[in-house]
Amino acid sequence: MADRAPQQITTIPKLGVGLNYQPQFQPFLDNHYHEFDFLEIVPDVFWIDRGIGASPRYIEDAVQTVFLRRMLSRMPVIMHSIGLSIGSAHRFNRSQLVQLAKWQSWLGSPWHSDHIAFHLTGTTLADAHGFERGGESNAGVTMPLRRTYESLRLLGRRVQLVQRRIQAPFLLENNVYFVEMPGDELSESRFLNTLCRQTGCGLLLDLHNVYCNSLNMGGSAWTLLEELDLSNVVEIHLGGGHEDGPYYLDSHSGRTPEPVWAMLDYVLAHTDTVAGVVFELFGSWYSTMGENGLSEELGRMKRAWKRAQSARRAVGIPA
């Protein structure tokens, strides 16, 4: 595939620090919205997909949408979807794309994103375990793609479809791995660099995923960061996790680990393309982290962001 021009990545407005939306955060969002600059939502949780053939196909949650409109009057709202299943070889969820385009038009997100993963598969294999031939299965987790040229071609076609339908820049997020994928033809850095170069999409760099992968799969997170073309990075995700036996899980369960803060400083110092840094926390962990804990995390992100912007200004680069 021929290289495509990057989508206006350098002209994306610099928003600053963001927080992911969870229904449990509503009181916090109402009372502490001055502590962050934008809200990131998983739009898929604001509607129900009634399936192929249903009319209307999507029913939106009127109550939650009222809350979202209130937040939109205060700050930008960015869509970070989970439902495209952009890496599914089985099929592409075009109806989801139409629904996302509708939401993009009223939210006016400066960019939007999804995951380099698949979760939707056809149940093509004959079996004695309850799957119907011709049906569909949804893994419910972001399944990693094989890093092959075939995957790049598939993603390239799908990214083009997204870019044609939704005018705002589109980003894809690096995944977390718990298994070595047999048949990989490219390293992770080369895969991500090629994907962005060939499709013109931006990178949502989840630094906690990078950290998890270095712990679980070996390899150095720093080597990956050095090999990545950081000029593709538009957004960064931070978050916390926990140990489960020999593995470390990307569970969004609390504060960002110290090594990830150091990675954030590194990336912010090495590219001027980052437009937003988002802290991800699952709603079920909110009570554990607490209102003060969340405020402190956002405050630390703000300080890191401002430090990087000041350093940029000091050497004469527009922040």
Binding site: I59, A62, G122, F131, G140, V141, L154
Partner: protein, 235 residues
């Protein structure tokens, strides 16, 4: 086709223990007819032996279990951990995950538990609690702006206040008196669910407790509002 078959098999290695065991045992033969190359079948066998797959299975099951805990907390509490694990395991085996959406999975689990009751499974108060949480699903279902809010009636066999308050405070209910009662559920102006206790049902219908949806006006006519303030079900 081959990549689609590979992805399908990769997901099944996580969702289906028997399928994974087949690969661990070296069973590649049936796959050649299903669009996998021999090389892909070998790759899948390697994946099947990877300990990381256990973590992915745990995440997959956690995702499914979270759907049930989130939408049907009282049913889960009534079943208790062991019974819930057994029944959820049977349900998941019979119904592979087909959607990200929580409500769909919860509705299917309710249908499954009703079918288990029909088969003779005995769990005290389960019919009442299923009817109540089904009604909550109907009331909380996302609506389009022009759509009329729904009202729902739930018929209980046992005292609903004692039963629900025990479960909501984290206890397994015991010795709840039999008392056939109708609760009327509706949404207030803020979208919160409110319950009104209607008159106890006088005639024994012999039917299983159930919930039914209708428009608020007709239900108000059918079931007069009692003098005492209606109980509010916490969300």
């Amino acid at each position: 086709m081959s990549e689609a078959a590979f992805q399908s098999a990769f997901v099944r290695l996580i969702t289906d223990v028997g399928f994974r065991e087949m690969f661990r045992a070296g069973g590649e033969a049936p796959l050649a007819t299903d669009g996998l190359t021999q090389a892909e079948a070998r790759d899948l066998a390697k994946l099947a032996n990877s300990p990381g797959l256990d973590v992915m299975r745990k995440l997959h099951l956690g995702f499914r279990l979270n759907k049930l805990f989130s939408i049907l907390p009282l049913t889960c509490r009534l079943l208790g951990n062991q019974r819930l694990a057994e029944e959820a395991g049977r349900f998941w085996q019979a119904r592979p995950s087909s959607s990200f959406y929580f409500v769909e999975e919860a509705e299917a689990f309710i249908d499954y538990l009703y079918s288990r009751l029909d088969e003779g499974m005995r769990v005290s108060y389960l019919s009442d609690v299923l009817a109540y949480e089904s009604a909550l699903l109907i009331l909380r279902r996302p609506r389009q702006p022009e759509e009329e809010p729904t009202a729902v009636t739930v018929e209980f066999r046992n005292d609903p206040q004692l039963l629900l308050s025990a479960l909501q405070s984290g206890e397994r209910p015991r010795r709840v008196p039999r008392r056939r009662t109708l609760l009327l559920g509706s949404l207030d102006e803020r979208g919160e669910v409110r319950w009104t206790m209607a008159l106890p049902v006088l005639a024994e219908s012999g039917m299983r407790p159930r919930s039914s949806a209708g428009v608020a006006a007709s239900r108000n006519q059918l079931f007069p509002v009692p003098a005492q303030p209606p109980p509010t079900c916490p969300r």
